[in-house]
């Protein structure tokens, strides 16, 4: 993130590369993430998100320089995981485990786990501590996983598609619990999701990644200052172009167009139509399209999940 703070960055990435055969999953990715931020890592399938998260969590090697909380993730993974928690998706709690056993286990192995906090969170749900995971609904499993993770006083929480497959009620509950019961200025959340609209209001920063390239690294405050979206009629669009203003992306709308500008004074644009801050989804499409125009066609990206290729 480009945001300047008084804190040291908890993630420092410089020139990260990851290659699977001929395919470059990450290509010269550099960024910094500071404490107390909620960062959205946004990208389509195969963009390199999971490769990047795996590297941050010490689950896979990355070329380049990567430091998380001052540690080398791959070499110091056990030490790192005392301060970092993650949820990879909603269905990875072992089905044979009972709820109270899950709490006992995490309490036994994690020095920063607060059993009372986990139990208090679970008390708000309908989950029976004696139930096996396989007897719980998908939403309940997510609640349990979140209860376990939120009871850990970790400095960094990594969430990869944490609400995938959940209905709208559980998704809302998930994010409101995350904000109310977990997040504070000392903690950082790094989150990926396809449902960008749902987390848009939570995020303080975004990282856009596409085909292994970082295409945007910005705070939300900066986005509202740097980018403007202008809704104009067809005639209005022509006037904008005649005035020499060049949108980075435009999209046809009913009876007009939506033009997205970067680094153009909003007051200048206001003379042509209605302006507003672009949504994350619109901005993502704009930035990715712009970035792709300047890049040669690359190999089709495989959808790299939480496993190595070639297996």
């Amino acid at each position: 993130m480009n945001t300047t703070t008084n804190h040291a960055a908890i993630i420092k990435a410089q020139g990260l590369h990851k290659q699977y055969g001929d395919f470059k999953a990450l290509n010269d990715v550099s960024f910094r993430i500071f404490p107390g931020r909620i960062v959205g890592l946004i990208g389509p399938n195969g963009a390199g998100k999971t490769s990047l998260l795996k590297g941050i969590l010490g689950l896979s090697t990355l070329d380049g320089e990567l430091s998380v909380l001052g540690l080398k993730p791959m070499k110091e993974r056990t030490k790192l995981l005392e301060q970092v928690s993650f949820i990879a998706d909603t269905a990875i709690l072992p089905s044979w485990l009972k709820v109270h056993q899950a709490i006992d286990y995490v309490a036994g192995v994690h020095p920063k786990f607060n059993r009372e906090k986990a139990q208090a969170f679970l008390a708000k749900t309908t989950i029976n501590p004696k139930s096996r995971i396989k007897a719980l609904s998908k939403g309940m499993v997510t609640q349990l996983h979140l209860a376990l993770v939120m009871a850990i006083d970790s400095k960094l929480l990594v969430l990869d598609e944490p609400t995938l497959g959940l209905d709208i009620m559980y998704r809302k509950q998930f994010y409101s619990s995350l904000l109310e019961d977990y997040f504070d200025e000392q903690k950082t959340i790094l989150i990926t999701t396809h449902q960008v609209e749902e987390i848009e209001n939570l995020l303080t920063d975004v990282l856009f990644i596409d085909r292994g390239h970082l295409v945007l690294d910005s705070s939300m405050d900066d986005i509202s200052q740097r980018f403007s979206q202008l809704s104009v009629s067809t005639e209005g669009r022509q006037k904008v172009l005649e005035a020499g203003l060049r949108p980075i992306y435009e999209e046809a709308r009913l009876g007009g167009a939506s033009l997205l500008f970067e680094g153009v004074d909003p007051e200048t644009l206001a003379a042509f139509g209605k302006i507003h801050t672009p949504s994350i989804a619109d901005l993502f499409v704009a930035k990715v399209s712009t970035a792709n125009e300047g890049r040669p066609q690359e190999n089709q990206a495989p959808n790299i999940q939480w496993k190595e290729t070639g297996q």
Partner: protein, 316 residues
């Protein structure tokens, strides 16, 4: 220490059926069969007598309902079996009796260990739970060594406890049985020291087997961490291929002999009869063999590779 104990607990939770329920069911079956045999045998045996022999051994004679004499030999422990002058006995010597549960549970334990080891580093990849375990601050070395510890010591310990429990039951049951039969010398029929001596001896024997089996344990762990599917095939096929290649190319059987020395799980040193001496002798015997130390080096290599695989390559 707490972290190590919770890791052990986790294994017991996950593999409760194999590690706990199976020995309990086997023990229950043995107990029920013994009771049934006792009830049936009470009607058959009409009379019996003990004869104390000059060397302290004991002969137990019984007479079946048709008047035929049956004879058994019972003695105080297992150490003097070969000196028993069993000239009149027609059936198996009863001195084997306290040892039999240990032999049976030992075989059961290694069957359980095989199933446990094959699945322990495979199912978490298969059911996708590996990422949950990997999200905890537990190193793969801790994980792999815990599973080694389970197979080498915890599973045999459970088997030893089950066998000892059976012998205690047998002692009690036959004491009661003798009260309802014509045998009126329960202290002679069941000598607690024989049970204790056998238990102590097999503790050593189990330990000897455990340390002897370390290369085999680590090989199965590697297979479990490596297999994409059907770990049993990954276990057997490479070994089979090695045996066939050696036989085809060199015409020798060294590899099959080495594999055979591990498959014969009850007797780490095949040239010794386990009933001829205390099981603790086997510990010394194993420790003094070159193959054990070479096997230990192989164990280190196999465990290192297993940990490397767990750290660097996984799927879900």
């Amino acid at each position: 220490m707490n972290r190590f104990l919770i890791q052990i607990k986790r294994e017991l939770w996950e593999h409760k059926g194999a590690l706990i329920t199976t020995p309990i069911v086997a023990l229950t079956i043995f107990v029920v069969l013994t009771i049934l045999a006792g009830v049936a045998g009470r009607g058959v045996v009409q009379d019996s007598q003990f004869i104390l022999q000059h060397d302290g051994m004991m002969s137990f004679y019984s007479y079946s309902s048709d008047g035929q004499q049956q004879s058994f030999v019972y003695h105080k422990g297992i150490n003097g079996l070969t000196t028993i002058p069993d000239t009149t006995a027609q059936n198996s010597p009863m001195s084997l009796l306290p040892a039999l549960p240990y032999i049976a549970f030992d075989h059961l334990a290694w069957l359980i260990a095989l199933i446990y080891l094959l699945s322990c580093l495979f199912t978490d990849r298969k059911d996708k739970s590996i990422l949950f375990w990997k999200s905890m601050p537990v190193s793969e070395w801790q994980n792999v060594l815990t599973k080694t510890f389970m197979a080498a010591l915890v599973i045999p310990a459970i088997a030893w406890i089950a066998a000892s429990a059976y012998n205690l039951f047998y002692l009690l049951f036959m004491t009661i049985w003798s009260l309802f039969s014509s045998v009126h010398h329960p202290d002679l029929l069941f000598q607690p020291q024989a049970v204790l001596t056998t238990a102590w001896s097999f503790l050593g024997s189990y330990l000897a087997t455990s340390i002897w089996m370390l290369p085999f344990i680590s090989w199965i762990l590697l297979v479990s961490a490596c297999a994409k599917k059907t770990p049993f095939l990954y276990l057997v096929l490479p070994l089979l291929a090695l045996v066939l290649i050696e036989y085809t190319v060199l015409g020798s059987h060294h590899i099959s002999q080495i594999i055979g020395s591990y498959i014969n799980v009850s007797d780490p040193r095949a040239e010794q009869n386990m009933l001829n001496m205390s099981g603790w002798y086997h510990v010394w015997n194993v420790l003094s063999s070159v193959q054990f130390w070479l096997g230990l080096a192989a164990t280190a290599g196999l465990l290192y590779t297993t940990v490397w695989l767990r750290e660097n390559r996984f799927e879900n």
